[in-house]
Symmetry: C2
Subunit: 225 residues, 2 copies
Amino acid sequence: MSKCEQCIIREFSSLKSLSKEELLSISGCKTSKFIKKGETIFEEGDTLNGVYCVKDGICKLSKLSANGKDQIVKLVVKGDLLGQRSLISDEAVNLSAVALNNMEVCFIPKAEIFGNLKNNSDFSMDMLKQMAHDLKESDNVVVNMAQKSVKQRLAEALIYIHNSFGLNNQGFLNVVLSREDYASVVGTATESAIRVLSQFKKENLISTSGKQIKIEDLEGLKRVE
Amino acid sequence: MSKCEQCIIREFSSLKSLSKEELLSISGCKTSKFIKKGETIFEEGDTLNGVYCVKDGICKLSKLSANGKDQIVKLVVKGDLLGQRSLISDEAVNLSAVALNNMEVCFIPKAEIFGNLKNNSDFSMDMLKQMAHDLKESDNVVVNMAQKSVKQRLAEALIYIHNSFGLNNQGFLNVVLSREDYASVVGTATESAIRVLSQFKKENLISTSGKQIKIEDLEGLKRVE
DNA sequence: ACTAAAACATGACAAATATCATATCAAAAT
DNA sequence: ATTTTGATATGATATTTGTCATGTTTTAGT
């Protein structure tokens, strides 16, 4: 758990193009930080002097809208970096990051990132690719938000979570969100999210056990209109 | 108009970090291409083997949603590049680009871009910064789409166009969009966009002359709820 | 200038979604 | 174990937005 070069995360993350020597030089990475469920890693407007690499756990990236409601923009998992966008733009962070379960992250100082961006073109390229991928995703979300119904968006959110984060040993979705969080992913009122989930239950598309959700009919969910 | 090194656009674009020699090597850039209003530069799903640098004119980047409606994701102007995201991700283009007025663009082949990404870290950094900026914008649009009313979104679209693209000599917005395009920016039905614009007119927030729109009360538009 | 086509406009109504109220349930605290 | 709090659930209703119909105006083509 101690050295970056040994970290299993390395091969999945944008850091994969860093050499052993480069990783060793990332001194701040030697110690990982544990973050409890519900804790805030950083908040909209904060200034970061480095990025976080997620070793374990899941967090949400969200933004507070003028109407006082939070909008979840992205879910971040093992292997992802947090705060790169802000670091590269050299501006305050645009989104808040809050842990959805217990997390382990390690901090990589700004200077290390910029040094590698300057000297390792493979690393720059990986960063660019990651950013390009995020941009495509974000554009697609814009289209979905603008053009699809709440029901469709919620169905797609469930499918997305199913495909990206998998299931636990009992077949429930690995990512457990409150109804309020689902509303905040989909961009609707909490009551609406609850109603739609109830409807999905009635139609046997999903089943629930407390906060846990199991997808019973993936194909059915895909057909939701 | 012929050589990249002389092009005024150069200093505004992501290409500003390329040296004179690097620009000279961009052979394909020697000839610029003229695109008429309404013409398509590329379509969703196309494979690009280079990027376009916009020398003049404005175009829309849009995506077709499953419901058959187009969603405009971004407006692109002088100095911007088109197709970088797709090129970097090495995948088909995610958005269609259609000229909103007569345009002049020049084409830069893929190999040139990648060569420079590999060898010129300032260029890579500029690309990264541009992408980071686009990502922030896109995330913000997601939040607006999800949390704001059609009226608010349309008011903000007008303000955005006012601030980003300016006015012509008679004080009308420089970018002229059809009502359908406004609907497509805001993510609503054409009739709804028309209705809201009519309402803005009645409230003396804007005035119109044919397709042209003049903002009469910018502060009032900002206060729209 | 005339015609056809497209864009704009508006009413009437339907559907989707938000809001408010209230009830139930589950988790946490004492 | 009991209380308290927060999350989930659902009904009733208001508001927003979409759809369809239809008329008018503008634009483009001959």
